[in-house]
Symmetry: D4
Subunit: 249 residues, 8 copies
């Protein structure tokens, strides 16, 4: 998996700088911390360049707290998503510096002066899509990107979109979020040269089927620069946009 | 069902202008002709203002021929849809005046000088959507509408659509046909004040699911003037556009 | 997009009646008002002939109030849909003239003496479909149509439908609303010459799948004058019926 | 499973009229004949009152022939469904009396003077539904029912249906077959007092989804006397109608 | 629709026993009572032999009460389904004789000495299917059938089913209710000669998809005497079983 | 069904060791106890080697209690699944020895010194999958297997899985539980030689569709040793793993 | 991944019995052979105890031949599935000993005197399911299991199944294959104590949906010893049954 | 849409360097060429930095030829996808320099010495996925990326993947293509720091549902750096990977 490390380790063994058993232990034990119900992947920062993120939904409060403690000991930047206010109140007791975004439902801890670089645009079609947009924006920002937000520019009034277009023209990646018919990524994709990360939302009713309609619209987009993440997955979009943005900075 | 006729008939019976049995027979036998395998609804012209149309798919050649003969005896205008070349060759032997549109797969018979009125625009997103668009255009034309066709203006290059917009601005009804992501009706709907009839097509692949993707997009359209017909149903769209167009002429 | 306006503007620039920068600003800033979370499309009235409508579902109370204030300043007619009683109580504090229809869940503000014209029929199959029917009726009325309501005439007792048929025979557009098996639009479509806007509802259980069954029934209707809107989309049906109705008045 | 037989057998054993081993063999071996690839259920006639029917689809020609030979030895009445002409030609070599219905795709062998009793109506909506209707009609007839066929009476021209209604009013069971929107069973169900067996067909296109649309329509029928069989299952409908018809003769 | 009545009426008109206008009024007004939100089909008893039934779900308490009053004035037998306890408490104030079955969620009013005839078996696979089974049993009983209930005989322990089989062998119709895998109707169908009405229930979890799994199982049943009603539709099954049962009594 | 028993019984009858009626009664009444709403299959232990298990969901508290009483009288080992705390509190009043696992939602009663044999591994991908994993683990343990639990080893950090692999290498059957993308069984399957029982969970959101996504992933697994049970069906997996584990002990 | 091997290798490196670079090469290159378009996993036999199997569908003839050559050089037992006659003719040119089963569409090469052990039963519901059953039977046999085949015992005539039951009672694993309603695994599962591997087939029509119906039936089976593989996946079932069978031999 | 251009044009008008009418014409006519059935977007290169690509499927041979001629006149690089051999033979007559990749079904025309930059890895799970992989590789290469191909490294033998990992570790974007269970992107995503473009393929059978299974797997991937394109959309993946790759070169 990580050629250089294995070769280095084998060399150390050969040179008897490390015993066989110790080497094997190293191979196995370095990367994570076992909390029983969860195995914290401290190694992820090294491997992927970004720290592990905690998806709170489906975890008990106690589990979230324990995981946060473990992560915040070894990382300057920590992000919790799908977090409600109750989790925030408990996490704040542990670390006063965490910031809660109630719309995005994120709790974030950041190194003080982390400068934001490049440009990621976060565009959404309707007012009801804002929570997903905020999750994307917070994620992109926490991972180091400068973020420009453009909300409520659905194509029913396409001049609103065209008017805002110069604000997003310099983006290195555009996150486009839409529920209902999900047509916004196709329109923006046709007007842009950078990659578009499309996020369908479950906003809508009836034949929207909780986001299936915009998901399919986006997967079938005629604009070739559109790729898609899961319904309501603002975090994923923010994450991917960040790593794309970082590549050219 | 048809109050005036029933009252008139009852009055005739009362005045002994017609016997009871004859009256009942009239009530039952006027409207259609029974071909055994099919019951031709000659009454439709009176009831709906437009003659019956023959959907050829799923009928044998013999059935189509028999139905055409029955219809063409009593109607100046006859339309056959989903007709292949073989059907055309056989129908032409019966009536030399029929016209075949191989793209639309329609066979039509029209009264000579039927003037076309009003304006119905037929807009499609891609080249592969043209067969459905032609079916819609032929239908609208056969039923008396002037038709303006604008093809291959999908939103991936939105300037192409905007450029053509003045050609369709005067329409009383716009038929918008799209496969793939099906976003065109939403964009046109947002720019127009007349009713939009959206037709999803089965053009696409993968998560298009033979037209489900654009169907859902259109049903969820943010533009409130969009209503939808079945996948590939160019005929239905042309028919509805015609009756809307006719209302204001 | 709007040829005449652009040409006019270009002419003004040429004649130096307006500066280049001002012209560009005009092009961009006229159409809407930016509330941050929402961009109010005041331009819609001009473009489509009907004012923007507020879909309350998924918006916070504060957002709805702010949008209403913005709209009611510039429009005599305002419509809010999917509005609950709490929203109504707050909106009434701003403008005493608003009317709440609790069945339809609509809040409407109308210019006093707006005369209703033409005729739109709103027909529904069952008692449980009435909320959607009322939304359609309110919408059609607010946008200027005279409305005739015929409720609970599902085909299980088809004589009920036939009896009411003369009340709707003069309609310029018929909205037909049905859940369960959704067969009513096909039956009414076969008996009518005007366009039918079919609205499937989520009324039913089991293999109704929250409205998928009637949606499919309607999309596959044998009656060629039937087009379909989203499940429970009474607003859309009322809107489209209004613009069709208006065309011939 | 068959109390009387088991008790009788046990009594025979007790009375030593039969040995234990013979009794067990009887219990096991009476009912069917093992052809290796198929186990012919000769016992079915006794158990259900109707002979086993051969569904040819998915069987090789050789398998069908072998099964037919086995069945025709022990039964006067044999029915093969989903049979093509090639199968017919081969079966006819074995027994000259078999009759082929190419529309229904059935091969039937009947005892000569089997009188048909009661009345089963077979009604279909469109010309393209006739193959399924014929399969139902042949099945009902082979199993002893008098059959009345009424074809092409879809609701788009509801007067055609009403006109034919007296022909089916005396039925003990009505089979209603429809593709497209599948609304016919609801309409007929509302007008009838006998059980309706609804058969969806795969006739249609687009959002018909090969019969899912009419299947759902029928399952959600507002008429309470409608039950449903599989898409295109004319045989099943004819079979059930027969046993209902037989109950009251 | 009802030939004899129309001919009779026409004869009356001819004989001047009735005026034309009165005749027309008769044609239209006899069959139902218009409550505004509902149109009570008093004519149904004549037409179908069974009174109208009130499906309470989706109706307001006031609507149910008004409908009940209207029906109970003209019918000795009234059935309300999907009724909760609150509805019952209110209906009982109007008529002390109504009976509530809380498992079946039915409210029924019956003529005193209505003798139950024939035999309908109601069989269910699991304990959790009992509410649907009870709805079926109450319906069949209210409409005049003797009912035999056999519960919790799913095929996981097939001897339980076989043991009870003699209790249901004399049935003229068997209602088989199952959730989960829905296999019970196939097994009972293979062992019986009478019609089987299969009712899938939403009992189960995961890939049961709220009853889709047993619905599909039943539609694909290898036993040819199985027809199917909607998921959880105990009422429909009881109704159909009753009319089949009545045919042979 | 059970040849030896029937032959033995027939022999007893023949030898007049038992009367015919008694024999028939035996055949019918031995296997279960009829509680009215449920038929307890005491015979299951003999037939399948494992006692009946009570699936509490969908049963009333009273029903669960009655069933538990019946089972616990005749079995040393009893398992209740999908049981909430309220059920536990009531069951404990009947038998103090029952154990409640609130994560697994199981109530179990075990013979004291039941030694656990062999090895079943229970592996899950995320913290939110633990409830299903615990249900599987409890079931496997109650039915006699030694269980090794490995939690939170999803492939996003594959080294965590590889590290734990030696703990599960000796398993005779591995239960792999995953929601989200459901990829864990494929990875573990490729690395193992024993059978894998894959359990999809409803953990996830959006296009997870309550477990459909991991269900499909697992059904399509490239690893040939993977078979699948229903979404969230920890019990089924534990049961099957137990009988496989038992085979080789 | 394979602890012992890694530790051994590290020890060798430490003891200088092998150079670091050689060790790393060993770690990487041992397991497979790279054919460019395919990477043959020769290591699989060691890792899983069974050789790699070639799924021919979707591979070109040339690819299959090349893979076969590579595999047959290092393995005595080779299995190709989904192979048509054309592939067979070409493979036979390479190795005369291969055996083709045209029903199963398998090509197999076996070491001469491989004794078959234990017992795997392969049961199918209908004649049309035999190809899948044969694929399962060939696979189980090639991998060393004694196989008992029981075909055409669907539950429509349940006595046929009961009669054959003693032939499969001694099985260590039962493969149950069914299309249509897919009920057979539930019935057999309830009667057996060993694991059941259920294989849905695409045999059927209409609401069978190419195997979705029996797939869902099996996933929801009430019998707890049933696990499921993909539609038509006879190979997978035979593979799993073999490894279960092998465990107890 | 393009602020600078509009301002520049307005300035030109103001300065009378261009007439009003000419300016308007410029705004409208620059961007594309109208072929009647298609509107070639020559402007795309300027707007998005990449030339328009021709999706041949659904277009007639004549249409493809006409479009190719139009494009090749104004572009040095042209790409045609989903092209069969017949199209290639015809295109080659027009321009000898086009290259056909029969696996990828692409026809490409490239400027001679276009240097390939950066690194895009194209990884696929199985041999049958190669056509989609080749389409992705050709696209990425034509648009200027250096490409590394790694085929047949599905997780069933995960060591094959790990072995190849160093070849793709330096990629700026990894395209991962998989059918069947679609797990490969999750595994590679967890091991990488660059963006992953996941492409589901329709390779598989049964519950694969023509690519739905891997599509859902990928949309639900636990690895946060995975975004997804349509089933079999190798072109889209290659396009997006190229623009990401280009950003950092």
């Amino acid at each position: 998996m990580e050629k250089e490390k294995i070769i280095k380790l084998l060399a150390d063994v050969k040179a008897k700088r490390i015993s066989v058993n110790d080497a094997f232990e190293k191979l196995r034990h370095l990367p994570y911390e076992d909390l029983g119900f969860a195995k914290i992947d401290h190694h992820r920062l090294m491997r992927t360049g970004l720290p592990e993120v905690v998806f709170c939904q489906g975890k008990t409060l106690e589990q979230v707290i324990t995981i946060f403690k473990s992560l915040s000991k070894k990382n300057k930047t920590v992000l919790l998503t799908r977090a409600d206010e109750k989790i925030f109140k408990n996490i704040r007791k542990i670390n006063r510096k965490v910031i809660y975004n109630p719309l995005a439902r994120t709790i974030s801890l950041e190194a003080k002066r982390a400068e934001k670089k490049g440009l990621v645009a976060v565009v959404c079609a309707g007012t009801a899509d804002i929570p997903v947009a905020e999750e994307a924006a917070v994620t992109a920002s926490v991972f180091g990107s400068r973020v420009e937000k453009v909300y409520d520019v659905g194509v029913a009034g396409i001049h609103r979109l065209l008017d805002c277009f110069d604000r997003i023209a310099a983006s290195r990646c555009i996150i486009v979020i839409a529920g209902m018919d999900g047509v916004l990524p196709s329109v923006i994709g046709g007007l842009s040269r950078c990659p578009i990360i499309a996020v369908p939302t479950s906003v809508g009713y009836g034949a929207n089927f909780n986001g299936i309609a915009p998901l399919l619209t986006m997967l079938n987009s005629c604009a070739p620069n559109v790729s898609v993440v899961n319904i309501n997955n603002g975090f994923g979009a923010g994450y991917i946009a960040s790593i794309i943005n970082r590549m050219s900075t």
